[in-house]
Amino acid sequence: MSVLLRRRPEGFAWLLLVLMVAGLLSFGPLCVRGTGDASASVGEADVAVRQAFNATLDAERAGANVSGLILRLNEAGEILTEAEMALGTGNSSEAASKAVQCIGIAESVKGDAVVLKASALDEAQTVFWMSLTFSVVGIAVFVVVLMLVWRWFKGGYVRKMLGMKPEVAHDET
C-alpha cells in the first residue's frame, strides 16, 4: 500500500474513492433495512396490542374482571407510542427495542385474557346451573306448598259454609 502511495498517488486516491463508494453502497441498504425492520416491528406491536385488547374484551364479555389486564394494556400502549415516536425521529434501534418490549407485554396480556375468559365462562356456567336449580326447585316447592295451602283453605271454607245456619231475613219492602 505504501509503495502504491509513493509511486502512484493518484491511483491510490482512486482506490480510496472506489472503496468509499463501495462502502456507502453496502451500508445504505443496511440502513434502509434497519428502518424497514423497525417499522415492521412497530407494525407487529400495533397488531399485537389490538389482538390483546380484543382478547381482553372477550374475557370481559364472559364476565371476567379485566382491571389488571387494562393496566398492562395501558403500559403496552405507552411503549408502543414511544416506539412510534422513536421511529418518527429516525431512532430505529430504540423503535425496534420498544416494539419488542410492547409485543412481549401484549402477548402476555393476550395469554392471560384467554385463561381469564375460560375461567369466567366456567364460573358463569356454574352460576347459571345453580340459579336454574334454585329456580326450578324453588318454583316446584312453592307451587306444591301453595296447592296444599289452597286445599286446606278450601276445606276450611267449605266446612265453614256448611256449618252456617240459615237465617230468615225480613223483606222490608
Binding site: V49, R50, F53, N54, T56, L57, E60, R61, V66, S67, I70, L73, N74, G77, E78, L80, T81, E84, M85, G88, T89, V127, F128, S131, L132, F134, S135, G138, I139, F142, V143, L146, V149, W150, F153, K154, Y157
Partner: protein
C-alpha cells in the same frame, strides 16, 4: 268473600312467587338495554382544573396541560388521542360530517379504559425556532412531551385580537373491534396559543 275470589288471590300470589323464584335465572338470560353510550374528552390546566391554561406563549418555555378521556361505552374501550397543531387557516375537524382534521398528528396517546372510568395524561409542550418578520410569525419546532417535531407554521398578525394565534388541538379516535381499525369519534378539544410574547 266468595271462593272464586279467593282462587284469584291464590293464583296472583302463585304467579308472583313463581316470578320471584325465577328471577335469578331470568337475570342471567335476559339483558336489558343499558344507558346512553358516549365518551368524554377534556383538557385541563396545570393544576388539573379548568383554569390557568397556557395562552400567551413564548419560545423555550415548557407548558403543561392535562388531557382527559372518559369511557361510558358500556364496555372496555381502546382510544387514541391525536395531538395536532395548526395555524388559523388550516382546518379543524368537521363536527357536522364527523370528519377529522386532515392535518397529520404530531403526537399520540393510547388509552385503554374500563367502562365508567376515566384517565388524565400530562401534555407538556414548548416552542423553538420562533421568528416574526413583517407581521408574520413562524414557529419552526414544537416539542411535545420532550419529543421534537418540525412544524414550520406561519400566521399573520391578527389585528382584531392583537396576536399571532396558533391552535393546539386533540382529536379522540376509537378502536372498533369489528373492523379492526380506528375511526374519529367526533370529539376534539383545543387551546388557542398567542405567540405574541415571544416576538
Amino acid at each position: 268473600m266468595k271462593l272464586e275470589d279467593c282462587k284469584v288471590v291464590f293464583a296472583a300470589v302463585g304467579l308472583i312467587g313463581v316470578l320471584i323464584f325465577a328471577s335469578p335465572t331470568l337475570g342471567l338470560v335476559l339483558h336489558l338495554p343499558g344507558g346512553e353510550k358516549f365518551s368524554e374528552l377534556w383538557v385541563l390546566g396545570p393544576r388539573h382544573m379548568a383554569e390557568d391554561y397556557p395562552f400567551n406563549v413564548t419560545a423555550g418555555v415548557n407548558y403543561l396541560v392535562y388531557v382527559g378521556v372518559g369511557n361510558h361505552m358500556g364496555s372496555s374501550t381502546y382510544y387514541v388521542v391525536y395531538v395536532k397543531f395548526r395555524n388559523q387557516t388550516e382546518p379543524l375537524p368537521n363536527m357536522t360530517t364527523g370528519a377529522p382534521s386532515v392535518l397529520a398528528p404530531l403526537y399520540e396517546y393510547r388509552v385503554f379504559l374500563e367502562d365508567n372510568s376515566s384517565s388524565e395524561v400530562p401534555l407538556t409542550f414548548s416552542f423553538s425556532n420562533v421568528s416574526s418578520v413583517g407581521g408574520q410569525s413562524t414557529v419552526g419546532n414544537l416539542a411535545i412531551n420532550g419529543v421534537p417535531f418540525g412544524v414550520d407554521k406561519s400566521v399573520s398578525w391578527d389585528a382584531v385580537n392583537s396576536g399571532y394565534f396558533y391552535q393546539l388541538f386533540m382529536e379522540l379516535w376509537i378502536y372498533d373491534p369489528a373492523s379492526d381499525g380506528f375511526s374519529f369519534h367526533n370529539r376534539f378539544v383545543s387551546r388557542w396559543l398567542n405567540m405574541t410574547a415571544s416576538v
